[in-house]
């Protein structure tokens, strides 16, 4: 029997980064907000404390902080003609669960996208002509421009205390920063992190080749910081247990450090954990949501009525929630119609390994998740693609995030996989290797999409999300090109052996690449190619908003978090100043 709860003004699905920021703003504005989080409540003290947090096997290898895939997996296939099978162990991407969401285990790499990224289709058409793109690609504009989002990027970075060096202040190029970035209204709130040896070597080599190295923007703090919410963050100690781990030091910007202590004190907000939302409920017109149905950790079913539903889950789960609820028309790749699940994209990740002799001591275990040095010379639209036959690009960086030995023990190609030869190579190279991240864009393609699996179910009997994905030719060509540039930098560092590994297809879920899954509830100006309008409001059901990386029409060069944060404040602005004052469609279809 379903228990019906007291109606709320707003119900939030997923209390991670997006959910906790929106809940804080709307509760402070006087609205009654219920936050439904499927995982557990958790806080820096007592949940993230040492020594237990520094456990490579538990957190890195066994993935203790991730979505419980025994109850809720994703099925996968490369092509429509194949049968999708469950991802039985997470490897390629790692969605989190629990209060604070995936941000608890992030690395803190905090980049803005560039102005061209938000107008990608128009930009490519203007610069390279209308026939330049592979016809299978589904590149489109976002419906917002960089200038719309700049104040919200700024607010988000000041919330987190992001450290870095501006490269472009109101149009004026700044020495030491990234000269390719779009204009910032002010400097970063904190200074860059200290530079690791690998970054210093990279900087020297990149300069010698005429590139423009800059310190990686980091939300692991370089100095003590009090954010506009009055919350204090600490200096990062470079412990080397960052991505896949929670931070014990209050040094990584996560909801537990930058917003939750304020949100939890507001009596207008109620957090319910262990709440697995089954669906958004619609009235008979199917154009209005009445609330959500969820099942608690003890298996009891509840209905939470609400005037406004905001889904703020991980990108893949946002898409699945709409599909399970019948909100928006599902995408059909055969006809090219429908929108939910359309334009699923990822990130195209390559590497360069530079092997040195034993006199170069790298100390890979001294690391924060975002203390690298990198260049944007081959990122996004920062170089001419007219003769290259692809669009998009990658940043190249010495981004040394850890030296945890189960997963980090680089050996040169040709090394035996086991035995004496393997062991000698591990001992010879562990402390004498510099790895570059070649972190690239991912274009949407008509064959790549998300829908519901016809066979496999979750623990509550609902269909799993089905992912159909392979790398577009465009992105593999991009990876090949930029990885070659990375190899040249490795050689300029004086390494005795430099090995570039450009991303190749087919996409495999057996190897970690990145947790930057994007698209599926795309934003835009056209309801036939987007699920939500420019304010992240669902076209078909105006009292449902969707916020997350699922809004990206295609993925840009950089990590998505800063842009998700900017979209979050952008949506909050529309909610507070437009929608909640006069509920209804913010854009006419």
């Amino acid at each position: 029997m379903t228990q019906v709860m007291k109606a709320a003004d707003v119900v939030i699905i997923g209390v991670g980064m997006v959910g906790s920021i929106i809940a804080k703003e709307l509760a402070a504005a006087g609205y009654k907000v219920v936050g439904l989080e499927r995982g557990e409540p958790r806080f820096t003290v007592p949940d993230f404390q040492g020594p237990g947090v520094h456990d490579e096997l538990r957190f890195d290898v066994r993935k203790a902080l991730m979505q419980d895939n025994t109850r809720e997996a994703v099925t996968f296939r490369n092509q429509v003609a194949q049968t999708a099978l469950p991802i039985r162990r997470w490897e390629s991407f790692l969605p989190g669960t629990g209060l604070g969401g995936s941000q608890v285990h992030w690395n803190g790499q905090t980049y803005r996208f560039q102005a061209q990224d938000f107008a990608m289709a128009s930009h490519v058409r203007e610069r390279y002509g209308k026939d330049f793109l592979d016809p299978d690609l589904r590149v489109q504009d976002w419906g917002v421009i960089y200038a719309d989002l700049e104040p919200h990027y700024d607010r988000f970075e000041y919330l987190l205390g992001t450290g870095g060096k501006a490269g472009n202040l109101k149009g004026k190029i700044q020495p030491g920063g990234d000269p390719f970035e779009s204009p910032r209204s002010r400097e970063y709130p904190t200074r860059p992190m200290k530079e690791h040896y690998s970054g210093a070597m990279f900087r020297k080599a990149a300069n010698s080749l005429g590139y423009h190295p800059f310190p990686q923007p980091s939300s692991n703090l370089s100095e003590p910081y009090t954010n506009p919410e009055g919350l204090k963050l600490n200096t990062c100690v470079f412990c080397g247990f960052c991505e896949r781990f929670a931070c014990e030091h209050y040094a990584k910007a996560v909801p537990q450090t930058f917003i939750l202590p304020v949100l939890m004190k507001n009596p207008n907000f109620e957090l319910r954990t262990g709440a697995q939302v089954q669906r958004i409920n619609l009235d008979s017109s199917k154009t209005k949501a009445t609330g959500v149905t969820y099942i608690d950790a003890a298996g009891r079913e509840f209905e939470q009525p609400a005037a406004l539903v905001i889904t703020c889950s991980f990108a893949l789960n946002n898409v699945r929630m709409l599909l399970l609820s019948g909100v928006g028309k599902p995408y059909d790749p055969a006809s090219g119609t429908g929108v939910v699940g359309r334009n699923y994209a990822y990130q195209t990740m390559s590497t360069v390994a530079s092997f040195f002799d034993k006199d170069v001591i790298v100390n890979p275990f001294m690391a924060s998740g975002a203390s690298g040095t990198l260049i944007n010379d081959f990122a996004g639209e920062n170089f001419d693609h007219s003769k290259l036959g692809f669009i998009g690009g990658s940043f190249i960086g010495a981004v040394n995030t850890n030296g945890r030995p189960i997963n980090y023990h680089p050996v040169p190609p040709g090394t035996q996989a086991w035995g004496k030869g393997w062991k000698k190579a591990v001992a010879d190279h562990y402390n004498h290797t510099v790895m570059f991240s070649i972190h690239g864009s991912s274009m949407a393609q008509k064959q790549n999409y998300l829908d519901l699996d016809p066979t496999y179910k979750d623990a509550w009997g609902q269909p799993l999300l089905r992912m159909t994905f392979d790398f577009p030719k465009n992105d593999l060509a991009m990876a090949e090109y930029v990885t070659g540039k990375g190899v040249e930098i490795g050689k300029a560092m004086g390494a005795k052996q430099v090995v570039g590994t450009p991303r190749k297809g087919p996409y495999t879920i057996t190897q970690y690449q990145t947790t930057h899954n994007t698209g599926g509830t795309v934003m835009g100006d056209d309801p036939s190619t987007s699920v939500v309008n420019r304010y992240l409001q669902v076209w078909d059901v105006p009292n449902v908003f969707v916020v997350g990386a699922s809004n990206f029409p295609q993925n840009a060069t950089w990590n998505p978090t800063d842009t998700i944060g900017a979209l979050t404040y952008w949506a909050i602005d529309a909610l507070k100043n437009k929608y909640l004052k006069n509920p209804g469609r913010l854009v006419s279809a």
Partner: protein, 246 residues
Amino acid sequence: MSDFSRRTFVKSLGAAAMLPAAIAAPALTVAASAGAATATAAPDTPFYLFFNAEEVAFMEAACERLIPADENGPGALQAWVPNYFDKQLGGGWGAGERLYRSGPWQEGTPTQGYQLPFTPAELFRTAIRAINAEFSAQDKAFNALDADAQDAYLKTLQAGGKDLGGVPAGVFFELLLKMTVEGYFADPVYGGNKDMLAWRMIGFPGAYANYYEAIDAHGVAFVREPMSLAEDGHGHMHPANIPASL
């Protein structure tokens, strides 16, 4: 055949063992109760909870070939890697923790990853039973082969194609190798990496976690005893020499 022979052999040579461990020592008969009688002292051989004696014989021999003791550092036996397997396979991980286990089951493409119904514990039991049966049928034992013959057999597993009671040999070998590396480098609290020998070999300081002062001393060796999770009596480390506000 005695499953204790190899462990005893290692014990007698101690940490200085340089010979390939697969050169069989004379089979010694050691009563299993001998270990129990000295239970109050720190054990110098693992106590196996999951593996039976025949499984121990295979696992100890196979792990030592995957990471042999030599002049570069400890082998898998010195590092107690088989003990790591035993505790992992006998616990939640072995029972299928974090493994989505609903059918239907079908073979996928390599890009779709593991698609067998076996839990890790079932997979090891099934595969080792098949391997030991294969050798028994020839009146042989894997652990009694010389090192070269052991390596040659492991390469046949690695190459795949062989069926081990329903477990494809390539799948078994891949997990055997992956978990051997885990047991070698994981924190000693999990039963392997004994005395942090593998961390010492590569210079990894372990759970120790404050490099604020060292990070910009570029290219300088960080010389410090490694620290296991179990040894960190300080709790979290945020000493006064760095700018901190909490």
